[in-house]
């Protein structure tokens, strides 16, 4: 099993979830209110009241093949608005 970590602006959450659902992932977890900084040195804060909002951190545990299936779509989503995606190994308990 793999673990996929996606971090991107909260406002793109719907698009990413649509991508995940289309690939039929077994599940996913969303943590909102993440803040941070990316390679373009833009600091994202939790300024929800401005409508800008913070980042979302999405974790997906799934098989490699699913990740291969989603790769292009996720890269597309992230290339549009920015964000990062990393894969690591994970074993079910």
């Amino acid at each position: 099993m793999k673990r996929l970590d996606l971090i991107f602006s909260e406002r793109e959450l719907d698009a990413i979830i649509k991508t995940l659902e289309k690939a039929n992932v077994p599940g996913y977890t969303v943590m909102k209110h993440a803040t941070g900084r990316g390679p373009e040195r833009v600091v994202t804060e939790d300024m929800e009241f401005t409508g800008l909002g913070a980042n979302a951190h999405v974790i997906v545990f799934c098989e490699q093949e699913l990740i291969d299936k989603m790769r292009d779509n996720i890269r597309d989503d992230l290339s549009y608005y920015g964000g990062v995606a990393y894969i690591s190994e994970a074993t079910p308990l």
């Binding site: 602006s9 406002r11 209110h33 833009v42 600091v43 939790d46 300024m47 929800e48 009241f49 401005t50 409508g51 800008l52 913070a54 597309d76 549009y80 608005y81 920015g82």
Partner: protein, 332 residues
Amino acid sequence: MEVNPILQNVLAPPVLFFLIGAVSVLFKSDLEIPAPLPKLFSLYLLLAIGFKGGIEIQKSGFSDQVLPTLSAAILMSLLIPLIGFLILRFKFDVFNSAAIAAAYGSISAVTFISAESFLDSQKIAFDGFMVGALALMESPAIIVGLLLVKFAAPKNRPKSRKMHLSAILHESLLNGSVYLLLSSLIVGFLTASSNPSGITKMEPFTGQLFYGAECFFLLDMGIVAAQRLPRLKNAGSFLIGFAIFMPLFNAFIGVFIARFLSLGPGNALLFVVLCASASYLAVPAAMRMTVPEAKSSYYISTTLGLTFPFNIVLGIPIYMSLVNTIIPLSPL
């Protein structure tokens, strides 16, 4: 221009709390209003402004002045982004220019509230229908900004980012803060026309509490603005200059239009403040979604870090002097 009105403005609780917030950042205090509490106050203020505005509009009806004023308001919110865009293009690409220009064409509701508080403390009357102008000036600037991107953007913009008119309208009219203000206005209007007892029952919430909630929100705005200000350094002196020049310029145009419309000093100040203020809610949210090429730090740092504090602390009394100087002149 006397210094008195500026000092008087600064010594009112809302501005004092704003300054307290800003100073706390300067002094590295760990005072913080954690998310999502600021959102609570911003939602509350929009709801209350809209509701009270709707009641006022229903009460005052559509007098002679209403239609011309509202039309002029919309006109200004179409015109300012165009002017701003032309100025900004000297230094910035289409995306950043359009996004920043749109922010200055739109309005800041809290600046508007602060101007109302200022008028109250100066015992100068103004009309409730000016909230209508506030509500109407939020969206057109977004539309202009997005149309500028649509037509002026380099032809090699990726296909996925080509904007459709429907998306433009969606972002400009259904943005959370625009929607809440507009729909609360409608609720206020309907309540006033068909359920007047509802007004009395809402009064403690939307009326009496308002001033205090405004102070609390401005405390947070002071913190946020002061955190944003240093980032302007990276934006360069052109943008810093723009963030001060543009509101003054817009105010100047605004005051002549106000005179042309024969607005009283209260309404004139509010009109001028609408022209001079810049959006840090609806426009940034819309631009973040539709023009990701624009740097959010540019349009947020200028509006929130510089233009907003300038208007709150110095701008409003300056515009008042402007109004008091220009409006009483012999008719155009």
